[in-house]
């Protein structure tokens, strides 16, 4: 989710706007419309915003662009009530924020990363979809079906030797069509004192990832938690049952479409809404 090159994102977003220029400009009844044709600049920016809105209205979830190389893919344009965008300081434009998938990094990646990526490409060809070097760490985006094979190599290859799997968890991106559920593995090499993050994305409609419990027994409870919280099915897990929630619980609580819940609280005469129903100041 790194934004290596925000300019590119803007450019892509702008291209999208141009592509959809023929879509008629809808009027949001909840946003006061600025007076027309007072200032050319403002009118233009409103026009632009209108197009983005049209785009987002037409594809409420996602706008995945064609990409090659290290360009972050636009996943979603999130809009809110407040904020400024596109030099529109009137406030009427509302908030507009592009959400992107991480851009791949270009080799050489530096440190020990190049060697590790090379070893993995040799031993498990086709596993790595993308390499992201960000925030001082190496992240490998891999294909789900190669996960088990990769785990064997990560653990047993003497040049990698990631003996310990500290953590498996999930992240939910409902707007990223066909990549909604991301499973994130953090591996630790005590021999080399290194960490690597491996993540794989699966669609919500078919959330299957091979279990790596047979390689890393530590993954047992972590995978159960990820199943419990996100509904990712780990094929080959010895007993994939709920772990934190009761056995008969419906739904997967950490998914974004699962409500937080809560009741309004009365305090000194005022009523405070539960956190997920309060007015949001940011999107």
């Amino acid at each position: 989710m790194s934004e290596k090159n925000p300019k590119d994102v803007e450019k892509k977003a702008a291209e999208v706007e141009q592509d959809s220029a023929d879509v008629s400009d809808p009027v949001n009844p909840f946003v006061p419309q600025p007076p027309k044709s007072t200032e050319a600049g403002r009118a233009m920016s409103t026009q632009k915003m209108g197009n983005v809105r049209a785009l987002a209205d037409e594809n409420p979830n996602a706008t995945v662009l064609e990409h090659d190389g290290p360009t972050p893919e636009l996943v979603e344009v999130r809009r809110g009530q407040f904020g400024t965008a596109d030099n529109d300081t009137s406030g009427f434009g509302g908030l507009r924020r592009p959400i992107t998938r991480p851009a791949g990094s270009v080799p050489p990646y530096g440190e020990w990363y190049d060697e590790a990526v090379e070893i993995i490409n040799e031993t498990v060809p086709g596993a790595i979809e993308r390499v992201v070097v960000d925030h001082g760490g190496l992240t490998l985006l891999v294909h789900a079906e190669k996960m088990l094979e990769l785990a064997w190599v990560l653990r047993d290859d003497a040049r990698l030797r990631f003996e310990v799997l500290p953590s498996v968890s999930g992240v939910h991106f409902p707007a990223d069509v066909d990549h909604e559920l991301v499973v994130v593995y953090h591996f630790l090499s005590m021999t080399h004192r290194r960490r690597v993050r491996v993540q794989t994305a699966v669609p919500e409609t078919n959330p299957h990832v091979p279990s790596i419990v047979r390689v890393y027994p530590a993954a047992d409870w972590h995978e159960r938690e990820t199943w419990d919280m996100f509904g990712v099915i780990f094929d080959g897990h010895p007993a994939l049952t709920r772990i934190l929630m009761p056995d008969d619980w419906p739904g997967h609580p950490q998914r974004k479409d699962y409500p937080l819940g809560g009741v309004p609280v009365e305090y000194k005469g005022a009523t405070i809404a539960p956190p997920d129903e309060r007015r949001s100041y940011s999107k």
Binding site: M1, S2, E3, R97, I99, T100, P102, D134, H135, G136, G137, T139, E163, V164, L165, P166, S167, S169, V171, H172, V184, H186, L188, M190, R193, R195, R197, Y216, P217, A218, D220, W221, H222, E225, G231, I233, L240, T241, R242, I243, L244, M245, P246, D247, D248, P250, G251, H252, P253, Q254, R255, D257, Y258, L260, P275, D276, Y281, S282, K283
Partner: protein
Amino acid sequence: MTDDYYGTMANDDVEADQVYTATGQDWDEIVTSQAERGDELLVVNMGPQHPSTHGVLRLILEMDGETVQKARAGIGYLHTGIEKNMEFRTFTQGATFCTRMDYLTPFSQETAYAMAVEELLGITDEIPEKANVIRVMLLEFNRIASHLIAIGTGANELGATTVMTQAFRNREMILDVFEAITGLRMNHGFIRPGGVPNDVTDEELDVVDETIRFLHWRLPEIAELCNENPIFKGRHVGVGYLDEATCLALGITGPMLRSTGNTWDLRKDMPYLGYETYDFDVITRDEGDAYAKFRVRQDELYQSLRIVEQCRDRLRKMQGARHIVDDPKIAWPAQMAVGGDGIGNSNEHIKHIMGESMEGLIHHFKIVTEGFHVPAGQAYAAVESPKGELGAHVVSDGGTRPWRAHFRDPSFNNLQAVSALAEGAMMSDVIVAVASVDPVMGGVDR
């Protein structure tokens, strides 16, 4: 969203042949009626409300007489959805939530979380040195407090009540330090992205001094009571054994791993917060049993005390230095004072926004309602908590609230070892084995 992929309902029609509900005073009846069915295994539910399960842990034991054939841990009774809640709060408020996970090591969660957010903000190098020294001091005091609980409750479950009272008395002195510095004895929310909100004054360092003196005086009592005590050794030696390879396979870290001879300690091997500049030893033992784990924890008390002393000396020389980053957006709220209504607030800040600057007030409103933006990305920061590696995986989408905050709690991971520790042992050894894991269910279930 709802899919019964694994048929959790499928086995509903399978029922146990015989169910006993023990209500107290009826053990003889149960024993008699089970004796008639002597060839069958007895499944015992230990917990979720049992004094020796460190909270609400449920152990499902298949007993053949007194021997444990199978041991399974049932968890989730203390699941409070802290991670989900954090997605609805600002990054600053997150510290207040994650501190409540493992309530015996609040500073570890706060530090891991703060380090992950700082990594995302790219301000790791800008954190003032003083903030890191204060963090280290609190973390190490916290390690002593947590180990004291592990030792004290572990002994208490065997009937050694004196060890428990001594451990809790010593811990009380450490909580006094926490109260002096952070204002709270538990659930501090003190270590925040950017630094720590309040300075440590000379008076507070005097409390630290007093506590260090007290601990030097009182900590050795535990060793005198337990180390060579034949009953204590009889219950611990050779019980709850786990070797190094199993520990690594199960991802077990912390004192459990170090009791097998492995020297892995994040403070030494992947230093953070400037741990490489402190003088301390990593404690290891080779036996890998409950006694070794007890001795590792006990010896770590003194190493942590060494680090605390070094922190105190450094803080004495750093009076007046910054303790939070020089960025008003991230640093708010800081320099709190206790007001008449008991709510902390910065008097200087109130004066500024209410009397001097309209823009200041606007910014204040924006920071309070919205929070600061954290660039999109993800970071994993790990600290050596008293129980092992505690990792915080924080994902930001560029907004003012975490898109996802996941905590890798060492207790959650280490509890997987219960089967390996308890199977084949006596039921009474299960209690020792679980105590040697030192699980805290608040952290396990989050």
